[in-house]
């Protein structure tokens, strides 16, 4: 390792290479989060926050205000919001998997010369504005929107169906936005798969369905897990999609944080919501890490 790294990258160079990005992220990523942590347990006096530690008459006092957290864990609206955020995120992951897995499978089994173009078509929407693509669904799902007009024209419905500002419209927007995040890792896994394993299973008398389930799907579990994480984690904290496509009944935690900050101007409450959101996201991450290390351990053991 040492011999292959240029020598000037060992002394001051090494310090710069590691130190500069590290310092930047500590200063502008973790330090701000510590400010949030502090404000979430501080007493607000007007627009200022009381010091947590005070030195008075020879007594050092530490004052932590947990009222925000007590409120968060006792108010049914917050609890309901947490549950529904996780619920919508899980539902989004399942729908993306149900649509995206077969999609990635057929992509990976399509003739090799087509694949680069098929792949580019999946990733192209990434490069266009996500905000504008979500806005597009407003025009499609509106009471007088394209979908209703087409259904009326086909005489499938007699009167416009209300779709905008419902859980349905929000889920359509979520699936639409996150589907490529599921397709790409699953495709990357499936396209590398050794097809001789599938042939071997067939030769040994397995039915196509059994082969698909026990060989193809079983081998693509790492891709499924990676895709599910890429969909699940950002959808828990989603703000723009519920705001533009959701209704008053679609409770999402990201929206609660936004409203506490911008509408109620309650900084310490918004901070407490932020801290609890991080905890909420750490749970699936911990599960993911657990499976990844277990998978890696099994792989090296075999």
């Amino acid at each position: 390792m040492r011999a292959s790294t240029p020598r000037w990258l060992h002394g001051w160079g090494r310090r710069v290479v590691i130190g500069v990005p590290f310092l930047f992220l500590v200063l502008f990523f973790s330090a701000p989060f510590l400010v949030v942590l502090r404000i979430s347990v501080s007493e607000a006096v007007g627009v200022r926050f009381m010091d947590l530690l005070t030195w008075d008459d020879g007594t050092l006092t530490l004052r932590l205000k947990f009222a925000n957290y007590l409120f968060l864990t006792s108010d049914p609206v917050y609890i309901l919001t947490y549950l529904s955020s996780i619920g919508f995120a899980l539902l989004n992951t399942l729908i993306c998997l149900a649509i995206g897995y077969p999609f990635a499978y057929f992509m990976a089994r399509s003739p090799a010369p087509w694949r680069p173009a098929l792949l580019m078509l999946v990733s192209l929407p990434f490069w266009t504005s996500y905000l504008l693509r979500i806005y597009a669904w407003k025009g499609l799902l509106d009471d007088s929107g394209v979908v209703n007009n087409v259904l009326l024209w086909l005489h499938l419905i007699d009167a416009p169906v209300r779709m905008m500002h419902t859980p349905f419209s929000m889920m359509v927007g979520m699936v639409y936005t996150y589907l490529p995040f599921m397709i790409l890792p699953v495709y990357a896994n499936l396209v590398k798969m050794d097809l001789r394993l599938v042939e071997a299973a067939a030769d040994l008398g397995s039915t196509p369905f059994r082969t698909f389930w026990l060989v193809t799907v079983a081998l693509s579990v790492p891709g499924i897990i990676a895709g599910s994480m890429l969909v699940l984690i950002p959808s828990i904290g989603e703000y723009v999609i519920p705001e533009l496509l959701g209704g008053p009944s679609t409770l999402m935690i990201g929206r609660v944080l936004w409203d506490e900050f911008f509408k109620n101007i309650d900084w310490s409450m918004a901070s407490a919501v932020a801290v609890s959101m991080v905890v909420l996201i750490l749970i699936p991450l911990a599960v993911f890490n657990h499976y990844q290390t277990r998978g890696a351990g099994r792989g090296s053991g075999a």
Partner: protein, 282 residues
Amino acid sequence: MNSALGRAWLAFGYAFLYIPIATLIAFSFNASKMVTLWGGFSLHWYHEILHDSELIDGFVTSLKIALMTATASLVLGTLAAFALVRYRGFVGRTLFIAHINAPLVVPEVITGLSLLLFFVACERLFGIFTERGIVTIWIGHTSICTSYAAVVIQSRLLAMDKSLEEAAMNLGCRPLQVFMLVTLPLIVQSLVSAWLLTFTISLDDVVTSSFLNGPGVKTLPIVIFARARLGLNPTVNAVATLSVVVVSIGVLTGSLWMARNERRRAEEQAAAYREGMLEARA
């Protein structure tokens, strides 16, 4: 799984991905103010956005921030990628990795809120960051985008053949020469990808910018978001169409350029290999 089902599944999937974009474009040429009702072909909304100073100012602001963000993230991300790949054992490496990964998973509402509260605290304690605007948004975007740049460049560095650098060093290249003549040409593609990716993320960001902007500073997504919240607006469709055209041209040229680069490098390597063989024989 039969191929008819496969073709149908792919067709429906691509339709799902592209119909919204297609309708967005179609209704930008609509003469009617009603976004959902066709009133004939017209370029009215394009004419309109030319005189829409809010949109134009927003675009200029966003462009400035995106250029600054992509450049800063490229520098910081390259350093971070080298730190991750070339220095396996340094004190605090686990913490460093956590700092690279965290911005990728923490929701933007949290990044935005925490940076704003941090800037407010800095203002009270040290009297800095008193004005919020382009600079604070730039810092916010860079703190997110550095991680994306680091991940893209890191994967290229990991895949790179290090024996090429070693060979250059053995042949007497000075370290800076090695970096400029060998390392840089090998990773330049990932640097371009990282720059474009962070540029796009910054240009598209609405949540972090909303927390970090000051009075009167509006990026293009903030303007679009405000209009989209109120309902359908044909000027938004026109902006969308223009951005789709620019992006499509960009992605197409980009992939052609990358394919050409790849081919040329393969040819050069093959030529070098042939020469080496001839010399070895002689």
